[in-house]
Symmetry: none
Subunit: 216 residues, 2 copies
DNA sequence: ATTTGAGGTGAACAAATGAGCACTACTTTT
DNA sequence: AAAAGTAGTGCTCATTTGTTCACCTCAAAT
């Protein structure tokens, strides 16, 4: 059953309903939808809604005005927090940067930016954000998919959460420099600290100054 | 101006509308409100709505069915503007504190603002942020001092992290609505779920759509 | 004693709104 | 070539729903 397959038109309609709801706090009427798409007949609109209902995207109350409900089938997630499968590599794609800063490694696909109110925090302008992959920092409240905000200028001391580069990989860990030995300590009992032997292959990208997470 | 002063009856009606919206995704009609309170005439209901409108709690569209909008004056911060016209950036005001442990009263002190690139964030413009106090959500990665970003319009389903009001206090918990019973579930083994008995004293402030944490 | 305001009834009415039918046009599938 | 699916028009029709009026009750204020 390929119920999920929507036509372009149907998707447009669905998007409009979603947007309308968001902006107004109540669903649109058939005629309001029609007006948006230059559909003069309510019947034409209704058939779009029927199609969307049949495909499981909407729920419509009979004879009730504005009785449209969007069924959120995508997220039916349980309440628990995922201690998911062991994901050894903490690869962090770059998602954006705030200001023109020192360019960091490879993939520079900017997806957006985060700007901090200067009155709220005296950040340096070179900060940028990376998306976290892996679960080695969950005990520090940093989960997969979170954005970490990184200050490349800040000096790091033992105990700070940092972003480090080891060879060609970038990882988030707690920094520890004790007796000339540098260790990167995960915040997850399932992982072991990383001991840096060859300092040539290691560098500190920056200090983590913030964590941002979007739900849903 | 004692505009804010509501009668018991008016407050009941307001709570019902809020709850109805939450549960159904669209506002109630006059008759649906009337049925709930055993008010046989729509005129009686309408005068409640008019009173609530006059006092600034509602917004009603003339001649539109279900055209009720709740104006969130409890958390509304007139001093902040949601859109930074220069940079086309969405600004999210930071309003007060929410208790994640034992609920505390939300103070209305604005502590700053977060600015988010709109392309990065498809949330509604009514979002605001609260600072978390307490540790009842640490297993969900929400710690004391974190800012939670709240969407007041979003409808919540079981499993969502929400901000709820219980009597005069505000708290962050996982929402669960099962078999007509609403429970607020902490994400910390040391706390017990809160069972909602009196629905009149409970309302959902909004859904948590983001978490932001500053280190140092 | 009178006024005022909150809360309510019952009925009537107009506007808003969803439901449905017959028919057209176009594209894709069979 | 025929059938099926999508998209739409114009038009009814029945409900749903908001608006309004005259009138009532009760408690608090003047």
């Amino acid at each position: 059953m390929d119920k999920k397959q929507l036509t372009d038109r149907q998707e447009e309609v669905l998007n409009f309903i979603q947007q309308f709801l968001q902006e107004n706090g109540y669903p649109p009427t058939l005629r309001e939808i029609g007006k948006r798409f230059d559909i003069s007949s309510t019947f034409g609109v209704k058939r779009h809604l029927d199609a969307l209902t049949k495909k499981g995207y909407l729920n419509i109350l009979s004879n009730a005005s504005r009785g449209i409900t969007i069924t959120r089938n995508e997220f039916e997630s349980p309440t628990t927090i995922n201690i998911d499968e062991v994901n050894n590599i903490n690869k962090i794609p770059i998602v954006g940067r705030v200001a023109a800063g020192s360019p960091i490694t490879a993939e520079e696909n900017i997806e957006g930016s985060i700007v901090i109110d200067p009155g709220f925090l005296k950040k340096d302008a070179d900060s940028f954000a990376l998306k976290v992959k892996g679960d080695s920092m969950i005990e520090a409240g940093i989960f997969e998919g979170d954005l970490v905000i990184i200050s490349p200028k800040a000096t790091s001391v033992s105990g700070d959460i940092i972003v480090a580069r080891i060879e060609d990989e970038v990882t988030v860990k707690v920094y520890e420099n004790r007796n000339q030995q540098i260790r990167l300590i995960p915040q997850n009992k399932m992982y072991e600290p990383i001991v840096i032997k060859n300092k040539n292959e290691f560098s500190i990208v920056g200090k983590v100054t913030g964590v941002l997470r979007w739900l849903n």
